[in-house]
Amino acid sequence: MTQAEIKLCSLLLQEHFGEIVEKIGTYLVRTGGQPLRVIVSDTGTSLDQVKKALCVLIQHNLGTYQIQKRGFVEYSVQCSRVLCILRYPRYIYTAKTLYGDTGELIVEELLLNGKMPMSAVVTKVADRLTETMEDGKTMDYTEVSSTFVRLADTHFVQRCPGVPDASGPSDSAAPPAPTLVIDEKDMYSVPRLNLIGKGKRRRSCDDDDNGEHKAKKQKQDLESQEPPPDDGIYWQVNRDRFHQHFRDQAIVSAVANRMDQTSSEIVRTMLRMSEVTTSSNAAYTQPLSSNEIFRSLPAGYNIGKQVLDQYLTLLADDPLEFIGKSGDSGGGMYVVNLHKALASLATATLESIVQERFGSRCARIFRLLLRKKHLEQKQVEDFAMIPAKEAKDMLYKMLSENFVSLQEIPKTPDHAPSRTFYLYTVNVLASTRMLLHRCYKSVANLIERRQYETRENKRLLEKSQRVEAILASMQATGAEEVQLQEIEEMITAPERQQLESLKHTVNKIDASENQVDETIFLLASYVDSTVVAAAKKP
């Protein structure tokens, strides 16, 4: 855990869960797994609060526990899970594009609550959807349930590991902590629930102009007293599946940029067919035959079989090497080179960063070094056709920022500088890690700036909130137009402008946090995939 990651984790925990959870969470991220007593003594918080904080962390899938050999339980928090909080808006947006508003709300509820049983999710989502619909219409539970089932079928939500049935002999001592088990095939199977009902419109306590609804609300509350039929089966969002989806999206858009729309659709089809058959760490998808691809193309694309074959050949021959041909049976077997694709995307990210920071000539030198691996100073000047002085300047600048490194090859055993070759080279993995660290620090900076801006204008925000509350209550009691205007004028024009600019600032910072998170995702996927590939090699 680097310093920047820990800082970012603590900021995120504080923003979403409060001070106490932040303290405990940061402590656990920094020191790894610790038993309960040690946490209490080291952080100086009371046992009660520590327990509550751990509950919150475990509920939101940020923390886990493990029974150690000696018999005590260690709690730990995983840094990577906390950093995924940054990506929640992207998860919700993806669900919206794929499954509409219903899907969006389901994912949102699951993310807000960590783990929930299906019936609770369906009820809440139906209620929320009914809120936004017109008067008189309500959302049916069956629609929400069917969307939920579709989400489970495509593995976007999964079941949490649960307590196993009490099958062991009853005289053995109960373990200090239950071991949660989940069967592979049960992970995505939705229990048969008979959820009948409609969404209820919720009225907030302030607007009670229609008094008759109050009575109805109390009656409906009584109905939901009995325990839901799927007690004990909790669902959570499957982050890995979302990450897989983001990665596929990145690959498809890269192909669309390099070639044309039809090729990207073909790649999208191939990736969709391998969604559930390929694990997320695999370097290649399963081989797909060209006949299968032809059958699975979306209905709108009626291109002929020969044209499809030509596209596949073109994709396989492209220097990008995203698609590879692995055999000739079934009209040609094609695989998607996931690792290669991630590597290309990561290198393209690196090149784009170098270009924006140092200029396009530096980017030329950088790409040259990427291709030719090791070059001398003179060769760099010759190949890149840049005057010697400028080339030297640029190389030294990039060297000082650690984008390129020097490899010494001595001619003589005494390593005399005048008799040594100095070769410039780019180490992609090292540069990626360095930039990843920089991204984490940037996001932390952005969050701090946003909090600072909000703190500065706290007084103004509170004032505007008070005014709004007064306005709302006066509207409810039927005040006159003049009085309303008087109250509105309590906020002067420059203050209004300040509020506007504050809103604009906060939105902008939020948007840029998401953008940096996209970069983080690409770079982190590349690092993970390379580490896995290196571990697999004997």
Binding site: K441, Y452, V516
Partner: protein
């Protein structure tokens, strides 16, 4: 020569050699003699043996020229002598000094009427020892525009993808012909020159290259291969990190909360937020 005996021949040859009328050469059969050009001999009159030796060394170097230290090694003469002789020869307009583009302080000497070799002057990209960066830039852009328009035309034709892709390629020979016809270059450019320019476009990420096997004799093929170039788009948009001020900040490493430079009082952020 039938009617002289060996001793008389040897004496005559020695006399001619000392007068500078003959050149002495060695071949694997023995020694050979060659009559020297009469103009050359007049030039060398008045120069002594050392100068003749130095002149011969420089002549042997051909059009690559030779450095003064190398002359010293080959002739075993002391430095002061060499310098005097070189000055003498230069004033007689027999040799000239050419500055090498590789090491600007180094001077190589070659015969007066020889054209310096490409490796010394740098070829088409150097004019008077200066690297012509604007010229390279202009050529760069022209080649790119040519390839881009070819790719556009191929895309619009909307035929089946194989033909589209193949027609968007241009061989290095075509690009060379286009540039020659454009006439923006004062210097005659060869196909290798154009290929170096196209390589820089590849390093810019704007162009990709493939090599195909071509029949001997087709226009532009070298050793049975042809290089084809095609304009391409970058595969990703400028990435998220560089859209925030932190990605491009020069004082990033000094920035932390509570310090002189911190996110709360960052002037770059303030400017950026006012957009």
């Amino acid at each position: 020569m039938p009617h002289t005996d060996a001793q008389q021949r040897a004496m005559a040859i020695n006399r001619l050699l000392s007068m500078g009328q003959l050149d002495l050469l060695r071949s694997n059969a023995g020694l050979l003699y060659r009559v020297k050009d009469s103009q050359n001999t007049s030039k060398m009159k008045g120069s002594d043996n050392q100068e003749k030796l130095v002149y011969q060394i420089i002549e042997d170097a051909g059009n690559k020229g030779i450095w003064s230290r190398d002359i010293r090694y080959k002739s075993n003469l002391p430095l002061t002598e060499i310098n005097k002789i070189l000055k003498n020869l230069e004033s007689k307009k027999l040799i000239k000094a050419v500055k090498s583009v590789a090491a600007s302080k180094k001077k190589v000497y070659m015969l007066y009427n020889l054209q310096p070799d490409r490796s010394v002057t740098g070829g088409a990209w150097y004019s008077d020892q200066d690297f012509e960066s604007e010229f390279v830039e202009v050529l760069n852009q022209q080649c790119f525009k040519f390839l881009q328009s070819k790719a556009e035309a191929a895309r619009e034709s909307k035929q089946n993808p194989m033909i589209q892709r193949n027609s968007s390629f241009a061989s290095s020979h075509e690009v060379w012909k286009y540039i020659c016809e454009l006439g923006i270059s004062k210097v005659e450019l060869s196909m290798e020159d154009i290929e170096t320019i196209l390589n820089t476009l590849i390093y810019d990420g704007k162009v990709e290259m493939t090599i195909i096997a071509a029949k001997e004799g087709t226009v532009g093929s070298v050793d049975g291969q042809m290089k084809l170039y095609r304009a391409v788009n970058p595969i990703i948009q400028p990435t998220g990190l560089v859209r925030t001020p932190c990605g491009l900040c020069p004082v990033f490493d000094d920035c932390h909360e509570g310090g002189e430079i911190s996110p709360s009082n960052c002037i770059y952020m303030t400017e950026w937020l006012e957009f």
